[in-house]
């Protein structure tokens, strides 16, 4: 049993509160028409933050789906900064700067899982001691990519951790329509790797599971599938109306299990947290997200950025398209 230290748990709560604060701010900014679609993080904080804290950012990669970035503070402020750029639709948002070991969001669900295995495999081929942790949702588990990646990881004994964030919903589709398996963790049997189901609202449980999986991976024993069971407390995204399909009583029950409330009351009981801390963290989080938004808003954009970074060098045809685009932008045609 490896439990996070008091300092770690306190830092986790900082990260969790920051994530939710920022997510809610982004929700509002979206509603004001200032930024793009937002997938709120509410309910996912304990799992993402605890997982990140069980990793070593200097060595271990995080491969996100799309709901995670705000909770990856441990990987550096650039993650938030790039996320805002990404969110407003600036191309630079996809470029999380080296050496930060975080891949950009993945929209094509579950495609990130074969990437994670390939990356983990490539690291072992180069004797890089890190591991790769990949997030994916309960819905994404229905994609062939998940299974193909899990199976390959099993054969390769690749140092990868598949973290299934089971928030009970894939947009409007509940888990019982997603799979008849006993649990998502049970799917590990298909790969010959251990499968662990944990309470995704409990930072200790998630930390311990990820820590254990990481040790296992580092000692050459291979991959682990972890299912973190929690509940999506918000809408799927700003474009979604969950009242059409989420039973109100389920949501109410889940709210009583809010991961932030749970950890906060524990830390408060232990004297590690108080209202002042809370509001300090919240306001720092707001400052950071607003600054990131401001940076994103004012980030310059080359007139022909559209054509950059597709291939390493313009083909004659692309070069001509670039000229045409520039002419059009300058209205000089």
């Amino acid at each position: 049993m490896t439990r996070p230290s008091d300092g770690q748990r306190r830092q986790m709560l900082v990260d969790m509160v920051s994530a939710r604060t920022q997510s809610q701010r982004m929700w509002n900014l979206q509603r004001q028409g200032q930024i793009g679609t937002v997938a709120p993080i509410d309910g996912h904080e304990a799992t993402i933050v605890a997982a990140a804290h069980a990793l070593d950012p200097a060595h271990d990669w995080v491969v996100p789906q799309y709901r995670e970035p705000l909770a990856l503070r441990r990987y550096g402020p650039e993650v938030l900064e790039q996320f805002l750029l990404y969110n407003i639709g600036h191309p630079a948002g996809g470029h999380i700067p080296a050496p930060i070991r975080v891949l950009p969001n993945q929209i094509s669900l579950a495609t990130q899982l074969p990437h994670a295995v390939g990356l983990a495999w490539g690291m072992t081929l180069q004797d890089d001691p890190g591991v790769v942790l990949a997030f994916f949702g309960d819905g994404s588990s229905s994609q062939g990519d998940f299974y193909e990646a899990g199976n390959l990881a099993g054969v390769l004994k690749a140092p990868v951790i598949f973290l299934c964030v089971n928030n009970q919903w894939a947009i409007s589709t509940p888990v019982h329509l997603q799979t008849a398996a006993e649990s998502f963790a049970a799917k590990a049997a298909a790969f010959g790797i251990p499968g662990v189901k944990v309470d995704g609202n409990d930072v200790d449980a998630v930390y311990e599971a990820v820590h254990g999986a990481r040790e296992r991976a580092r000692s050459g024993l291979g991959a682990t599938l972890i299912e973190a069971a929690l509940y999506r407390l918000g809408a799927h995204t700003t474009a979604d109306d969950p009242t059409r399909y989420v039973p109100a009583e389920d949501l109410a029950a889940a709210r009583r299990n809010d991961p932030i409330a749970i950890l906060r009351s524990r830390l408060e009981a232990e004297g590690l947290w108080d209202a002042a801390t809370q509001s300090e963290v919240e306001s720092a989080a707001l400052t950071a997200v607003d600054a990131a938004h401001e940076r994103a808003r004012t980030m310059p954009l080359a007139p022909d950025a559209l054509l950059d970074h597709c291939v390493s060098e313009d083909s004659p045809r692309l070069a001509r398209q670039r000229l045409a685009l520039l002419a059009e932008v300058e209205g000089t045609r």
């Binding site: 679609t37 191309p91 094509s108 229905s142 994609q143 329509l177 559209l306 054509l307 597709c310 045809r317």
Partner: protein
């Protein structure tokens, strides 16, 4: 006639076809209780029940693959890909199986399958949501590829697609769901697959387009009409089967051609149109055919998409360029 937006027209057509033929079943991600993420399937679940309106697991591959089995069983599946870009997840089933069920069984089974999907840009979606794959789909023999530009056509072509014994990829312009509104005939309304439509008359030049680019082309035509230019707009409506005769007729009448599409330029369906024009009407051409299209980069992020999609200015500029040729 009622004025409907495209989404309403599609929804109406789905309701009508399900009521008409009890073999029709609808499947896809979030198509049931939620009525589809854009509400295209709204009300079907309530009306026809969970046996005929199925919220599938999150897998485009298995959605497309299951349609093959459903068709073999004698049903008429209407599947939704939540976004066309995720049809890539199902391409082995769409191209390798759905498209060839009739051919590989030499006619034993009718692949009476319709796969609906929104596509095209302009609404600031994330990656792959806006990609225009029609050129790739058109190269898959056995598939029909239909892409309406008006609400009325959406209703009438969808009904034809569902009744068609061949597999149809039914491509719906994301931006048109709420952005396109027109008079839609009430009751049964069928538009045959494979017949183009003259969206604007004209004889100085023809813009050949499909899906949302028809709207753009019409605006260009209207704009240039003010300058005394007579710009025809030919709405292909279906790419496969292609209304080769209508293309020839329009090119022969106008002599000058612009093809406008949202896709990546290289390998896009525009090339096929140019080749068709050359095959049918080379001697009528008074100037080189010009393609207006996306660029040779993936459909981009939100801040860049307005540059990517051919807009009125870009199309109008191309039109002028072609008209300037002596």
């Amino acid at each position: 006639m009622t004025e409907l937006n495209m989404l309403e027209a599609i929804n109406e057509s789905l309701h009508a076809e399900m009521a008409r033929d009890e073999r029709v079943v609808v499947l896809g991600e979030d198509v049931g209780r939620n009525g589809g993420v854009f509400r295209a399937t709204e009300g079907l679940y309530e009306k026809f029940g969970e046996r005929r309106v199925y919220d599938s697991p999150l897998s485009e591959g298995v959605i497309a693959g299951a349609t093959v089995g459903l068709a073999i069983a004698g049903l008429v599946p209407v599947a939704e890909m939540q976004f066309l870009g995720f049809a890539y997840q199902a391409m082995h089933q769409i191209a390798g199986q759905v498209a060839r069920l009739r051919y590989r069984t030499q006619g034993r089974f009718d692949p009476a399958i319709t796969i609906r999907a929104p596509f095209g840009g302009g609404v600031r979606t994330p990656e792959l949501h806006s990609d225009s794959l029609e050129g790739q789909l058109a190269n898959i023999a056995g598939l029909k590829v239909v892409a309406p530009a008006t609400a009325a056509d959406a209703k009438g072509l969808l009904a034809s697609a569902i009744r068609d014994p061949d597999p149809v990829m039914f491509l719906e312009p994301l931006r048109g769901y709420r952005g396109i509104r027109d008079e839609v005939p009430e009751g049964e309304h069928l538009v045959p697959l494979g017949s183009a439509r003259t969206a604007r008359p004209g004889d100085d030049l023809v813009i050949i387009a499909w899906s949302h680019q028809v709207e753009m082309a019409c605006r260009v035509s209207d704009r240039l009409a003010g300058e005394g230019l007579s710009i025809r707009v030919l709405d292909l409506r279906s790419l496969v089967p292609l209304d080769v005769a209508a293309i020839a007729e329009a090119v022969d009448a106008c002599g000058r051609v612009v093809v406008s599409e949202e896709a990546v330029q290289t390998g896009g369906f525009g090339g096929e149109i140019v080749a068709t024009v050359v095959e049918e009407s080379f001697w009528s051409l008074e100037a080189p055919v010009v393609r207006v299209s996306g660029y040779d980069v993936p459909y981009p992020v939100g801040m860049l998409e307005d540059r990517y999609i051919p807009d009125e200015d870009r199309i109008a500029a191309a039109v002028r360029r072609v008209l300037e040729v002596a």
